[in-house]
């Protein structure tokens, strides 16, 4: 009896101890992976909804149209709903058909005439459809992909409002495609001080333009953190320069929130060109310790730029002024928040008329995810150039990157390159078979893709459009 009793007690105690050890070692509760509020537009397998915050109507600073690209081998139908800014402008819906490999530009002013600001929502069930916004204004032209998600928080890291002295105008466009009004608060951090705008109503199914030039005047640098108190929005920024030393139009999508790691693929140092890196810490109370790493196409190791960014503040870096970058031509910047506090980053590029480069302004929102599959619509004039930039964010994996061109006749494989860890490469449009090509990039490990195009009188740069699953940089092998 004593033996059985002892064994029984031992068995029970042992089981409880094992259970405790098991409990200690088991994983956390299952959670649904959060959908990264990515700044990279995404053509989903089942088709996406493209939110184009838009631009101005006729006679505005950035007349807007949407370019719908069908990268597939069959014709598609896309529903487009144009939205104006005036209370009297009800949304107008239309359906457009695009043939295989075709492109169609829809000037939004034709759908919503006589409205100073117009935007659009495009819906498609086809994963091969991608949508860009194209802008044309008195100061230049630009293009950027439409946004594929709405969010409750947006960050615009850079803008300028010295309209009297330098012709700088900054406008935020708030697209509310939802059936209920949205309300937003905007905090500004400018070189002239802090400011805020509370209770801005973005009416349902409307575009709301907020001219920051009138709110934060005479600022050489201003950033905006947009908190959507009620509802959700898609937000972009229009920046114009119109002076003797700077002239151009740049439109960039705002960053939805922030990310601990951000890649800016298209950075260049050239005569007359001024690239400004802006990093915003949207956190309410956490300081961000940030390293800005340089990924060049050479083997020269460069020390990162170390920054401390206080909550709700923005730091800008004029890259030409950084001595450590001297001698570099084209490179990529990696913004890495060492403290893990998400930040938002953008690159604004302005080329003055006195240099060799094409005059104009361009802006690019940083990429917060990588992917193995990308689409890049190239739109360059015959006299201009376009570079597709691919960056391998992995620290030890070699990415085998294949470039294909999609046309009406199908997909044509162009080339394959191997990209070492933390390396970048760029391919010109001419190498990819033309100035109007749609390039599909498929890599063996996640990469970041951007494009920079320059015409005769204007420039643009943007990220590619992701068609594969998003891979946060922390999960890149």
């Amino acid at each position: 009896m004593r033996t059985i009793r002892s064994l029984t007690i031992l068995f029970i105690s042992g089981t409880l101890v094992l259970a405790a050890l098991f409990d200690r070692s088991r994983g956390a509760a299952a959670v649904l992976p959060a959908v990264a509020a990515s700044s990279v537009s995404f053509a989903a397998p089942g088709g996406s909804t493209w939110f184009c915050p838009g631009g101005s109507g006729d006679n505005g600073p950035a007349r807007v149209g949407v370019e719908v690209v069908n990268a597939g081998s069959a014709s598609v139908e896309v529903g487009i709903t144009a939205m104006g800014s005036k209370p009297s402008s009800d949304p107008v819906t239309d359906t457009i058909a695009i043939g295989a490999g075709g492109r169609t530009v829809v000037p939004l002013e034709t759908m919503i005439p006589d409205d100073p600001w117009v935007g659009a929502v495009l819906e498609t069930g086809n994963p091969d459809v991608i949508v860009d916004q194209i802008f044309d204004g008195p100061t230049g032209t630009d293009r950027s992909p439409c946004i594929t998600r709405t969010a409750e928080s947006w960050v615009v890291p850079y803008g300028a409002t010295r309209i009297e002295s330098d012709g700088e105008q900054m406008v935020l466009l708030l697209l509310n495609p939802f059936p209920d009004d949205a309300v937003v608060d905007i905090d500004f951090d400018a070189d002239v001080g802090l400011d805020s705008l509370s209770g801005v109503v973005a009416p349902a199914n409307r575009v709301t333009a907020v001219d920051i030039t009138n709110e934060v005047t005479v600022a050489a640098r201003v950033s905006a953190i947009i908190d959507v108190v009620s509802g959700r929005l898609a937000v972009s920024r229009i920046q114009t320069y119109n002076s003797e030393v700077a002239r151009g139009l740049s439109v960039e999508a705002a960053s939805p929130g922030g990310s601990p790691v951000i890649y800016l693929p298209n950075v260049e140092l050239a005569d007359g060109r001024t690239d400004v890196l802006s990093i915003t810490n949207p956190s309410d109370d956490e300081i961000a310790q940030v390293d800005v790493e340089i990924v060049a196409e050479t083997d020269v190791p460069l020390d990162p730029i170390e920054l401390t960014i206080h909550p709700r503040r923005t730091v800008t870096v004029r890259l030409p002024d950084e001595p450590r970058l001297a001698g570099l031509d084209k490179f990529t910047l990696v913004v890495r928040s060492l403290s893990g506090v998400p930040v938002a980053a953008s690159l604004d590029s302005l080329v003055a008329p006195d240099g060799d480069a094409v005059v104009g302004a361009a802006a690019e929102t940083g990429a917060d995810v990588a992917s193995k599959d990308w689409l890049v619509p190239i739109e360059a004039t015959d006299t201009g150039r376009a570079d597709v930039v691919v960056v391998n964010p992995s620290v030890d994996a070699v990415a085998r990157v294949g470039f294909s061109v999609i046309g009406p006749g199908g997909t044509t494989r162009i080339s394959t390159v191997e990209l070492g860890p933390t390396r970048r490469t760029s391919v010109t449009a001419s190498e990819l078979g033309g100035s109007q090509a749609v390039v599909r990039i498929v890599a063996s490990s996640p990469v970041v893709v951007g494009i920079e195009a320059a015409g005769l009188t204007s420039r643009s740069m943007s990220l590619g459009i992701r068609t594969g699953p998003a891979v946060p940089f922390s999960e890149v092998p």
Binding site: M1, I4, R5, L7, T8, I9, F11, I12, T15, L16, A19, A20, F22, D23, R26, G27, A28, A29, A30, V31, L32, P33, A34, V35, A37, F42, A44, P45, G46, G47, S48, T49, E77, G79, T95, V121, E123, G125, T148, R149, T150, E152, P177, F178, P179, D180, S230, G231, R232
Partner: protein, 1012 residues
Amino acid sequence: MVAHRPGAWFEETLDSLATQDYPRLGLMVVDSAGDADLAGRVKATIPRATVLDASDTTGFGAAADAVLDTEAESAFLLICHDDVALAPDAVRIMVTESLRSNAGIIGPKLVEWDRPDRLQHVGLDVDRFGVAADVIEPAELDQEQYDHVADFSAVPTACMLVRADLFTQLGGFDPSISFRVDDVDFCWRAMLAGSRVMVSPDARVRHIEDLIARTGIDDVRRTRARHQLRTVLITASLPSLLLTIPLQVLLTTGEAALAVAAGSFGQVREVFGAYGWNLRRFGEILRRRRALRQDRHLRFVDVKQTQQRGSVRISAFIRGQIGRNRRGIGAASREIAASVRTGTARVSWLVALGVVVFILFGSRSLITDGVPAIGGFSAFPAHAGDMLSQWWNGWRDRDLGSPGTVPSGVALLAVASWLLGGSLGLVRTLWVIGPLFVGLAGVWRMLRPTGSRRAQTAGLLAFIVVPLPWAALGAGSLAAIYAYAAAPWVIDGLLRSEGIGPHAPVGDAPASMIRPALIAGVALGLAALFEPTVVVILPIVAVGFLLGGLVSAHPAGVGRLVVATSLVGFVVAVLSLPLVLDLLFSAPTWAIIADGRSGAASSLDLSRILRFAVGPSDPGPLIWLIGIPMALPLLIGRSWRFDLAVKAWMVCLTGWAVALLSAAGVFPFGLPDAAVLVAAPAAAVVALMGLAVASAEHDLRTARFGWRHMMAPLAVVAVSLGALPTIGLLQTGRWGLGPGDFERSLPLVPPAANGSYRILWIGAPQFLPVSGRPLVANMAWAATLDGLPTLADRFLPADEGSAREIETTMARALDGGTSRLGRDLGGLGIRYVVMIERLQPAPFSSVDDAVEIPPALVEAFSSQLDLARVEGTNSSIRVFVNTDWTSVRSALVPGFDKGIATLTDLETHLLPGSTGVLAGTGSAISGPVPDGTEVLVLQTPDSHWQLSIDGNRAAHRPALGWATAFSPDRGGNGSLTYSTPLWRRLALLTQVVILLGLLVASTRSLLVKRSV
């Protein structure tokens, strides 16, 4: 003298009359049994005696009344039984006292036949309920302490001297009162007629008092309950009745509760049956009341002053008088009666009463304010009839509709509501709290084989010390409450089926496996009628017992255990017949058991599982102390105490292991709420605490004094401290459950405005108002029709119908595949999406207890262009309204679905304008249908649904790839009806018959005399 086949003592009785010193005593013997020998026996002793044949009468009173039909003339009547022996001067003393005191009725001092020094009756105290109790203590020694003449409320009919004119005036005894309480009735009527009722103790009478042995009928409780109520109804004034009857009902309920706790269900029937018995004789009662009014000379209030204040029954119970001399009555009542005579048992009953009071007191706010409709505590429909029709019609509205049967518990609740006068609120409260009392009875029964009343008492206390029931109440987990209530019955049934240890049969009698398995099966099956998920406790207990047998190296009975487990399972299946048939006819689904869980890992850790901290209120570290009494039987127990303790521990380990593995996401399938999984371990903990007491009683006596003896007081201290968290919960009167529910928090539009609609509920399974289906991670979904769901919506149907359409649609949204989810959901009739993050709305629930909806899920819904977030709702919920919804039944232009082959086509092809028609729920819906329209019915297609317009059946066709469109020739009054298949109704009726049969059989089994 009324004689009924008197025994050998009869001659002594006759002798005592023959030797009276009262000179003018004549004897008239009324033969109530038609005894042919009686006259000879009487004449042999008293030749002058008269013998009347009253064999056509029933009962003492009716027989005694036979004297009214004779021409006997006398000033006094001495009415007595045939088992009394009067002292020679008894009659004289009584007559003298009657004359001296002007008393109408005089009783003697009754002493025991065989022990004349022991008092039997010296007058009776009677309370307002007609319950009589002796003024003396049981078997009190006669020391002349009561030897003074005094007024009483009644004197026993065993021997009473009555003024003959009074007897005639009152019409004798009430002939409808056969036995018992006839004395109270007669004496009260005599007092109302202005007579005194007195006892003259100098008159001594010996009395056998053994009616049951002579009649062979055990009807003490039944006849007393009936006749006491009759007496009150006849003799009490109307104002007095207004107070007395409600109090009587209260007392009866209390008595019934005690009877249930003792497993004496027959007593429940008998005490409540008294009301029906008197109701059937209501006319006769009214006639007697009128007759009494003519004879009345005293006011009711004067008679009332002679009555005992309070309840004689309660005070007698406390004094231990109930149950004396009840040889031959039923086993349960005999046990109760016998037990109460001992100090231990009296303490047991007081503890049982205390435990009941504890539960009632702790639930006081739930009882008075009602149970909020949250989690598993579903709201009830407005009428019991709705519940019954939902059960009967065979169509389930929830999700996208499907054929299926609502669990029959819903019908039982409807019947209970009718029995309780239509009080659905009371039924709902009983539905939630009532199982705890069933569980208490189960614990009492489970520990009865220990033979230790203290062990049983400890079990009752342990039942309320274990935090599970209160955690379950606080968490709105009805399934856990039912599982905890059923678990002791299942444990008991399987142990008895094994037939070993204390459960072994006595002597050569074969151990019966059927009966215990039947009782356990009925208990579990009844619980499953209300919460199907409770069936998981059966395999947990069975596996635990198997392991226990192996670990303790006593595997005997394993074979019987396996068979008994199968039997219990079979009984449960039979009781759930319609559901089983549904499962057979449709694709078997595990979802019914999983209750919305997918098997994903949760945050529940081992500490909370072991402490039964499965609700919002954490019992804290003190609860660990109950581990000490749990360990006691393992450490000191011997023989069967040790074996049972090992089995109980194995049940604990099994249940805890299943809960832990489930929480860790080990299983590829979902299991019910952890609170249900640990219900069997909780009951095993209760058993262990009872076994601790049994071990202390049996095994400490023989052990040398040492550490073992220190364990017992340590265990008592540990339990006392461990109970503190539970005691702390008493404060709110609702076990931590807030008073609010979502009824007022949800901004839902009445369906009558735009037609019926569905609500898509998303949240943690334990927060949903109905059982859900797994969605993502630890989230579940469910869809219900028109407003807050009610009880019938709670249960998952075996046939899921087209429910997958909702899952597929939501999956597309989660994958980012659509930003027009509203159109897709609109094609499913879904108007609202409600995300629930807490069990109750703020401020009745804490943010700490919230289970946040995954941001990705919120994001997926928030990003939809046609779902508008309803602002300003309670912080515990998110509500989206679908701007593109279509009524579940809507009228549209013919050919409305051209180009719409599937739901996803709705994203690009909007339905033309529709009008909601035929709003409502159930199997028969009617309303006007516009002319020139088709009626789109957004529910799972089923050929048993037919639309008739003004009696003309409309043709139907598939629509939207999943729904049905009816194409009537013209508009008019439409009627959409569901023809329930005959087999389903037959299955329901069969289930009712089986249920009644099993209930009767198991109740009989419970009442059969136990060998232990």
